[in-house]
Every structure is written in structure tokens, then in C-alpha cells.
């Protein structure tokens, strides 16, 4: 599964802060799609590594 953000949306943003925000929203859309199309064990093991590293 490839991450292909909508570059036009990002380019249209006025400031770098806004560009970052729009890009993150694009990633969230991709990640939600990843969750929907993969087994729970797949995405949750990745989430577990991220969250457990914080504690």
C-alpha cells in the first residue's frame, strides 16, 4: 500500500505550518485506510511499538 498524498492540497496551503498540517491530515487518511484494509494484529503491532516506546 503506497502513501500518495494529494500534493495539490499541500501546495495550495499558504504557510509551512499549514502545509505540515495538511500533509499530516493526508497521512491520517492513508493510515485509516491502512487500518481498514489490514488485520487488526498488523496495524496494532505497529501502534504498540510506537506507544510502548513512550513509556
Amino acid at each position: 500500500m503506497k502513501y500518495t498524498p494529494n500534493l495539490n492540497k499541500i501546495r495550495n496551503a499558504k504557510t509551512d505550518k499549514e502545509k505540515n498540517f495538511i500533509e499530516r491530515l493526508e497521512f491520517i487518511k492513508f493510515w485509516a485506510e491502512y487500518i481498514k484494509t489490514h488485520k487488526d494484529s498488523d496495524w496494532s503491532s505497529q501502534q504498540k511499538a510506537l506507544i510502548n516506546s513512550q513509556f
Binding site: L25, I35, K36, K39, S44, Q47, N52
Partner: protein
Amino acid sequence: MIYLPDKKQLLIDKELNELDKFVIEFTRLLPEYVLVSGYVSILTGRSRGTEDIDLLVPKLDFNSFKSIWDKIYQNKFECINTEDVVEAFDLLKEHAIRFARIGKAIPNMEFKLIKTKEDFYSLSNKLKVILKKDILFISPLEMQIAFKLNLGKQGNEKDLEDAKHLYELFKDNLNREELIRLIRLFKAEKEFDLIK
């Protein structure tokens, strides 16, 4: 992950992370509660952590609170605001108190009483999340999206991102009419346009 809106159930066969385990161990001690805000997004896969989890409980008299307090302490959690149950009860009436595992500060549970109409809505319409061996209760998804959009009005991008996560994940199964009603209630139409 399977969402069954008619049954108000969400089935997640996930590998539990430390945050999930903390929430499960703590909520087991409570007779009634609903989890709200950021943890709802995290439970459903959002790729971020948090230091605190927001939890609402119905109004309690002192004796009921004391009984929960004792159970919490017996299970190796402690209040990080105060060790005095009377003081904790007073604090809770005003705002919130936080519980963590003994000797730790994070993660912690922000424990609040139900006060607003939106809080009541979350409890009355709560969603049952069925994990491998455990059960959690979370605020309904439509309310969570609208609530997070409302918080996002103050410029907090994290809240808009949480709303986006829930919206993208469940958009085909949401009660659209109810979602729009709640978004209008919070006057968060502009924020919704940003994330949809």
C-alpha cells in the same frame, strides 16, 4: 475492526499496548464510566500516544466515591493530586482528579464527573468495545468527532487530527444525520470542512 452501530458495539482484535492495558486495568474497578476524547482515537488505531486518558463517571456521593477510591488503592493505583480522600472528593466536585500506578505519573487517568448535556449524551449512548478478552465503554463516534472538531476551533491541530482519524475510519458507518446535528450544536461546521 468491525463496527456494529445497531448493536452499539465495536469489535477490535488488537494487540494491546501499554496504554490499553492501563485503561483496562483501571476501568475494571469502576461500576460505570465512559471514555472520551483522545483515547477513543488511540484505541481505534491513531498513531500517537498520550500522557492522560479522559474518563467520565456519573455523579457520586462521598460513600460511593470512597468505595471506588479504596478499590483503586487496593489495585495499586493512586491519586496523584492528593492522598486524602476528602480532599480528592472536593477537587473532583470542582474539576477532575488524576490516578496513576503507584509511584508513577504517566500514563494517568483524568477522572471527571458527568456535568454537561454532552457528557450525559456520551454515557447514555456509549459504545461497547469488545477486545480479545476485555471490554471498554467509549463515547459514541459521532459525538467524539463533533467534540474534537469543537476543541480544534481553538487552533489545536491534534484535536482536528483525532477527528479526522475517526471520520476516515468510520465514515461509511456513521449516523450522518446525528453527526451533522452534533457538529451544528458545537458550531464546528468550518472545522468539519477542513477534515472531511
